[in-house]
């Protein structure tokens, strides 16, 4: 019943006549070995100036030289500390609690350091708010070791020193004040109590500073609505762990909506417990991560989403609102309203529409009704003010600004009106950019004030009201840097360091008698008594909204006109965010969870809209090519934007992601994509757009059709909640049967091999719950960081040579089962006709259901790879792990060919210290991030997931040394530790008390390709969708 769906991985597969899909299914090698190409070219062979004799001479000479050079071993040196710091022991990792607050990502983290070098960012287990590190946060450690960082203060491109800069700025501020001009700070959202206090003190000391807060990707509407209602410029918090019903109108709650960090709560309710799970309706335009996880997803134009929200309010309150929606959408809204009403306080409605009216309506609907909603302790991670930024540019152009200091922002890149800003900047007397890079902005300012990375800085953050966290340096600053706050203290003439400033501020106002050292150790502090902090009001007038009733708001919304043309919806990609970390190769190579495309941004378009205009096609090495378009918004045109056909994209809309198209401060390889901020007029992510086909072809680094499973299905199992509750597990999770002596028996009972007794000692298993997995990809980056996985670059990714040990397969389900289900339940007899109409309307792929499936080495007990290795480089351990001895591997690649899961990765090149792969492993700075416990593999060696054997071994060795029994939860892999949604659980199944042993007994448990009898040590849990009324 459940698993008869046809799953497909690419639009191409839906085309029954596609020869490429067939070819790829049949081809063992995606690439033909280009022997003919090389030897067949007689002309170039003849014209070669190297004769055979010369060649032999070279070979002979180099062999002799190499032999001679090898006669003497190199002398290696070891230099110990002169005075060894007490807390450092060579070979033992230290952990420090800290906080990232780069203006876009805010999270409490645990930083792993080795010999004084931060090498890994973990989730912070003690923190209660934003404790989950997403892919960008995990990757942020590499951004510190960025060779493009500015290494000291600069003036006009030349190095200078801090004394000069400080003196100049002090004089500049004095002069500006004397001339009656303004001193302006344009900063990111710091959400820092100490910084706020410091800025207001500084302002007092110099007689007034204008502080403009600016978020690259704005939450202005949500902030305005909240401010109007509650008087505080913040955003409501939502605890989705309490939500039975989630109705979302364009809110990417699993992405970066309101600063992100909601996935762990959301995923808790997504796992069916006692036959219940949450129900999630998503009304959106782009196919977002949230939409992919929703039970019911309705693709609408942004303007229609507004109408849908009004109508939803109408159905809830029993008032009817106008505005036209398609019948299908209308039904979905009705169903949503019904579910919403039924759930009472356990329901919540959220919106990501950048419109104050919509935001206010949602606040009105949740206030006092929803348990999920929390306006008492709101989120402070965004506070940018669009109006203030606009008026600042006007002031700058008018020559009213004497001194401009920017910190943590890059307006020349992130502002739509970058030209206006540049024009204004020319009229500013003195400008200083606190920046880690010589980027688009800091190259235009008088001074570049080199600022440290957050792992080198002190700081404090109030992510949510009353929830404080501390940022502490985990390494001595790599370069001659000064953080913004320290500079302010210097300019004030104070000789207090910012660290002491925070400490005294915390002791006086926040800690309330608790110890500073304990707070610093924990990294987080929750204040039991409300703290009133003296904060300077940032610039910008609050929006007057109070007094308007919800009904009026809804009425206003319902009158939204639906434009006839295309609407462009700008969004932030999971990997790249607002583009601060564009020079991070891990993030560039990170495949987008939805499109599975890396190294690019692109215009996403629906299948229907693309028909006849734009095409995507697979070339015969399995890579994806596509057409280009010239896109125009408000008279601004970006040429040659690649077009990607995206199933689930709302008709009449196109999507384009921020964060790409960086020009300065990034390596040549990282200059990818186009800058979507140019379209971000008035901080509105919805714009009307026109586009036309451009000449040429774009080559995507998309891993869609790669690693096909050779046409073998039954990989991803899913079912509906009703089936799950009512039927026996055999129905929705059938065991594959094989024929033994002409009898159908379960495949698990048949084996070609004898089994080992693994009952003594540890036996590791990894459990992956497809319900809890949101596809966020934090595990992919964590695996990269932990295991020194190389980055291969765009062209190699196109050749299926990406090295990710852990991939997250994304499957689209062709049938839109939920529509029929909903209809059948709600209109059992009434709307038979419309049902058939819907059937006709729906093409497979227009609005598909999506499932994510992380796949890594399955560590089969009967591993096909092990039996074919001619040199026994891969073998099995008693603890269940499939070992890979790199130094033994000779690179035959038999194992990869024999692996049914296609999880083995071959080092086609030397990826470290090789100029052809100029990523982090090619410079000394970038190599500092390498994990010293894991070997860096060389060319010609096969590699794969080791189930983080270095981590399991470490746990065992520590326990042996301490002479204690290992507790459940101590065993972790990088991916399971990084998974904040709880989808991945790792442990020892020989420990009967452990969670993993319990999960293995679950009815939902199944193995990948069970019928081939590989007996994997990784198992999955059937995905249950709450598409029907349970």
């Amino acid at each position: 019943m459940a698993s008869n769906k046809k799953y497909w991985k690419s639009v191409e597969e839906l085309n029954p006549d596609s020869s490429i899909v067939d070819t790829l299914k049949q081809n063992e090698f995606v690439d033909e070995i280009p022997v003919d190409e090389f030897l067949g070219d007689k002309q170039s062979l003849d014209s070669s100036s190297t004769t055979r004799r010369d060649f032999l001479k070279f070979v002979g000479f180099s062999t002799a030289a190499a032999t001679l050079a090898a006669c003497e071993g190199p002398v290696k040196h070891a230099i110990p500390y002169v005075v060894q710091p007490e807390e450092i022991r060579p070979g033992v990792a230290n952990y420090y609690a800290s906080t990232i607050a780069d203006g876009y990502d805010f999270a409490s983290v645990l930083v792993k350091t080795r010999e004084g070098r931060p090498i890994f960012i973990n989730n912070h287990d003690k923190a209660t708010v934003n404790s989950s590190a997403n892919a960008r946060v995990v990757a942020s450690v590499l951004s510190m070791y960025d060779s493009m960082r500015v290494q000291g203060p600069k003036k006009g491109g030349n190095s200078t020193d801090w004394a000069t800069l400080n003196t100049d700025v002090k004089a500049g501020i004095k002069n500006a004040k004397a001339a009656g001009k303004e001193v302006v700070f344009l900063t990111q959202t710091f959400a820092s109590p100490s910084t706020s206090k410091l800025i207001s003190e500084f302002s007092e000391s110099v007689g007034g500073v204008k502080h403009v807060v600016y978020d690259a990707i704005s939450e202005d509407a949500a902030l305005n609505a909240f401010e109007a209602k509650y008087g505080v410029r913040a955003m409501a918090d939502y605890d989705f762990a309490k939500a039975d019903v989630v109705i979302s109108f364009g809110a990417d709650i699993l992405g970066d909506w309101q600063g992100g960090g909601f996935e762990s709560g959301y995923a808790k309710k997504k796992v069916p417990t006692h036959g219940k799970m949450n129900k999630h309706f998503q009304f959106e335009s782009n196919m977002s991560l949230t939409g992919a996880n929703a039970d019911v997803r309705v693709a609408l134009k942004p303007s229609e989403v507004k109408i849908a929200l009004a109508k939803f309010y109408g159905y809830v309150t029993g008032v009817s609102y106008g505005g036209s929606l398609s019948e299908k959408a209308e039904e979905a809204v009705k169903a949503a309203a019904k579910a919403y009403k039924a759930a009472g306080g356990k329901a919540v409605v959220v919106t990501g529409i950048k419109d104050v009216t919509a935001q206010s309506l949602v606040l009105e609907m949740n206030e006092g009704k929803s348990e999920v909603f929390d306006a008492e302790a709101p989120l402070k991670v965004r506070s940018g003010n669009a109006n203030a930024v606009a008026s600042l540019i006007a002031d700058m152009k008018a020559g009213k600004v004497g001194v401009l200091v920017t910190a943590g922002v890059n307006p020349m890149y992130t502002l739509a009106d970058a030209e206006g800003f540049a024009a204004g900047l020319e009229k500013v007397g003195l400008s200083v950019a606190f920046s880690m890079k010589e980027d688009e902005t800091s190259t235009k300012t008088t001074y570049v004030a080199a600022t440290p990375h957050y792992l080198e800085s002190w700081g404090d953050v109030e992510i949510k009201k009353g929830h404080y966290s501390l940022m502490q340096p985990t390494i001595k600053p790599l370069f001659d840097t000064l953080q913004f706050q320290d500079a302010l203290l210097t300019w004030m003439g104070s000789d207090v360091a910012y660290y002491d400033y925070i400490k005294s501020n915390w002791t006086d106002t926040i800690l309330g008698g608790s110890g500073w050292n304990q707070a610093l150790h924990d990294g987080v502090f929750t204040s039991s008594t409300p703290v009133v902090l003296e904060e300077m009001d940032p610039e910008g007038e609050p929006v007057e909204m109070s007094g308007v009733s919800a009904g009026e708001l809804a009425l206003k919304l319902s009158k939204t006109s639906v434009p006839g043309g295309f609407e462009l919806v700008l969004y932030a990609k999971t990997g790249m965010g607002d583009g601060q970390q564009a020079n991070n190769p891990w993030l560039q190579e990170f495949p987008d969870p939805i499109t599975r495309t890396s190294w690019d941004n692109y215009l996403t378009i629906s299948i229907d809209d693309a028909k006849g205009k734009f095409e995507n096609w697979n070339v015969d090495n399995g890579a994806l090519d596509g057409d280009l378009a010239n896109v125009t918004v408000n008279g601004v045109t970006i040429t040659n934007v690649p077009v990607l056909i995206q199933p689930g994209q709302a008709k009449g809309t196109v999507g384009l992601s921020f964060g790409y198209g960086r020009e300065l401060g990034v390596k040549e390889e990282m200059k990818t994509g186009v800058n979507a901020f140019k379209f971000y007029t008035d901080f509105n992510n919805v714009q009307s757009v026109s586009f036309e086909k451009a000449n040429g072809t774009h080559e995507f680094a998309c891993i869609q059709l790669h690693n096909t499973l050779m046409g073998r299905g039954d990989i991803l199992k899913d079912t509906t909640l009703a089936t799950f509750n009512d039927e026996k597990p055999e129905v929705w999770n059938p065991q594959p049967q094989v024929s033994l002596d002409h009898q159908e028996v379960p495949s698990t009972t048949v084996s070609l091999w004898d089994d080992f007794d693994r009952s003594i000692g540890h036996h590791f298993n990894l459990s992956i719950d497809l319900n809890a997995c949101t596809g966020c990809g934090a595990c992919v980056i964590a695996c990269h960081a932990e295991n020194n996985v190389p980055v291969v670059g765009k062209s190699e990714v196109r050749r299926s040579r990406d090295m990710h040990w852990l991939r997250i397969d994304r499957y689209y389900s062709a049938e839109e089962t939920f529509i029929e289900d909903v209809e059948v339940v709600e209109n059992i007899s009434g709307l038979g006709e419309s049902l058939s109409t819907f059937g006709e309307l729906e093409h497979p792929g227009v609005n598909p259901q999506v499932a994510f499936q992380p796949v890594m080495c399955q560590h089969c007990n009967h591993a096909p790879c092990e039996t074919v290795c001619p040199v026994a480089a891969t073998s099995h351990g008693k603890q269940g792990q499939n070992h890979m001895a790199y130094n033994r591997c000779v690179g035959t690649r038999y194992c990869a060919n024999n692996c049914p899961y296609k999880v083995r990765r071959f080092n086609w090149f030397l990826y470290n210290e090789n100029d052809a792969f100029d990523y982090h492993m090619n410079d000394d700075l970038g190599r500092m991030v390498l994990n010293p416990d894991v070997v860096v593999r060389s060319r010609g060696v096969m590699e794969k997931c080791s189930m983080c054997i270095q981590m399991t071994q470490k746990t065992i060795l520590d326990a042996k040394r301490d002479g204690r029994v290992i507790k459940d939860g101590e065993f972790q892999t990088a991916c399971s530790a990084a998974c904040s949604s709880g989808a991945m659980t790792f442990g020892d199944i020989n420990d009967n008390e452990s969670k993993i042993a319990e999960l293995k007994e679950s009815d939902r448990m199944y193995h990948l390709l069970e019928h081939i009898g590989t007996q994997p040590n990784v198992f999955y849990h059937v995905k249950v969708r709450n598409t029907e009324e349970a």
């Binding site: 230099i79 070979g91 003594i760 792990q881 416990d933 040394r961 204690r964």
Partner: protein, 451 residues
């Protein structure tokens, strides 16, 4: 010296009719070994200058004993250390003052005694430990010891330090023996030739026709080549032997057993771990908890060497003089930036670039703490009798075979370790025995060391 003649078996040639030349082949193998007993000179006995008891009635011999037990940690006779140099201290202060100072210096300082305050100020206000347990007579003994005149510098050892190791004590060089032998043989051959010639001439003179055997005789090498069996056997033998040597050569590539590089500071494990019995893990403390044993940071050296600025006379060996060792300590001071005069750090450091001896390849994971703390393996098992090493060297081959062998032979130490309790019980139930080697516990799996 042994000279061996090995008579090889006669080989019959089917086609060699004459047996005159079919003489036995003799192969001369000369092994020459010179074994000289290498008498290690025990270090020049320190001259015990027992000075006449010129001052007071103290007993300098007892005084020396007391001095070494109570005072030597902070005082030297001729050098400023934590406290002042003490030679001739009896002349500087009167006895009563000394008694009260030694019994309780703080009280004396507190009383405002000018001398006492001066000394206290001079030595960074470090109060001297009070010794109320010393009787006045004992103090007299110590003073008597300190009043002894400075001994003349010791006579340098007669054997020069440089040539000591080669065993030059009286033996005739092997080369000379060999040369003499070679000369003897050459003479013998020449004489035989002369005799042969003379005999021929005599024969000729006597008109005896010498048989021209050489024409009939097949040359030996030709005979050898014609015997195919022999050729095949010798080729196979040759191949096997060369394969054996090639294998032997290749297997030692990268094996640095016995690697004994010169270090920037001549650090003698013999003196530290041997003579002074310092536990290995006092300096290599990381070995207990970390995968690396840790090269001690220089502040660990300075724990002791703040007060030990020179070695004792008895530490010197024929190879290395006292001055040589003292110079090494000075190198340490330079590296740490220690100003021995003023007893403080200058802050100018110059980290030591030791030459790394044990180089395990990156792809092999080795954890010291597992062997040292968990298994309780003696450091000496892998590193050799380090306490006797003047110069540190690589004792074990550090090859994978060497690791594996030990893992095959050694039992896992499970008693008293709570981690193993349950596992041991299960194993006992299953196999009915109590001891399991590391190999049986999965210690040979690739992934245990390679990841």
């Amino acid at each position: 010296m042994i000279i061996q003649f090995i008579n090889m078996k006669k080989v019959k040639h089917r086609n060699s009719a004459s047996s005159i030349l079919g003489l036995s082949l003799a192969l001369l193998l000369a092994f020459s070994t010179t074994v000289f007993s290498q008498e290690t000179d025990t270090a020049a006995a320190a001259t015990e200058t027992t000075a006449d008891a010129s001052v007071g009635a103290g007993d300098p011999v007892n005084g020396k004993k007391l001095f070494n037990t109570n005072c030597a940690a902070c005082h030297n006779l001729d050098k400023k250390m934590t406290g002042p140099a003490l030679r001739g201290v009896g002349d500087k202060h009167d006895k009563e003052w000394l008694y009260s100072w030694i019994h309780n210096s703080s009280a004396l300082i507190a009383s405002g005694d000018a001398d006492a305050v001066k000394i206290f100020e001079e030595f960074n206000k470090t109060p001297m430990t009070a010794f109320p347990q010393l009787s006045e007579a004992e103090i007299d003994d110590i003073i008597a010891y300190t009043m002894a005149p400075k001994p003349a510098p010791p006579v340098p050892p007669t054997v020069s330090g440089e040539g000591g190791g080669e065993g030059s004590s009286g033996g005739i060089d092997t080369n000379i023996v060999l040369a003499a032998l070679a000369l003897g043989f050459a003479l013998m051959i020449a004489m035989l030739y002369v005799v042969n010639q003379t005999l021929r001439r005599i024969a000729e003179a006597n008109g005896i026709e010498l048989q021209k055997e050489s024409e009939k005789r097949l040359p030996l090498w030709k005979a050898f080549i014609q015997n195919q069996f022999l050729v095949i056997v010798s080729v196979i033998l040759l191949l096997l032997v060369s394969a054996w040597f090639a294998y032997g050569y290749l297997m030692q590539v990268g094996v640095d057993q016995g690697y004994k590089p010169n270090q920037p500071i001549h650090f003698s494990h013999r003196i530290h771990a041997g003579d002074n019995g310092i536990d290995c893990k006092y300096c290599h403390s990381s070995a207990r908890v970390s995968k690396t044993s840790g090269i001690p940071s220089l502040n660990v050296c300075m724990n002791c060497h703040k007060n030990i600025s020179e070695v004792a006379e008895t530490t010197a060996t024929p190879d290395h003089s006292k001055e040589f060792y003292d110079e090494q300590i000075q190198k340490l001071y330079k590296a740490t930036g220690w100003d021995a005069e003023n007893m403080k750090y200058t802050g100018e450091t110059d980290p030591v670039k030791w030459v790394r001896i044990h180089n395990l390849p990156d792809f092999a994971y080795f954890n010291h703490s597992q062997h040292v703390t968990v298994a309780g393996v003696e450091c000496q098992k892998c590193h050799g009798p380090v306490e006797t090493f003047e110069v540190m060297e690589q004792f074990a081959p550090l090859t994978m075979g060497w690791c594996i062998n030990c893992h095959r032979e050694t039992n896992v130490k499970m008693e008293g370790n709570e981690y193993y309790e349950k596992i041991h019980e299960q194993l006992y139930k299953k196999y009915g025995r109590k001891d399991f080697t590391i190999a049986e516990m999965g210690g040979l799996e690739c992934g245990k060391c390679h990841y």
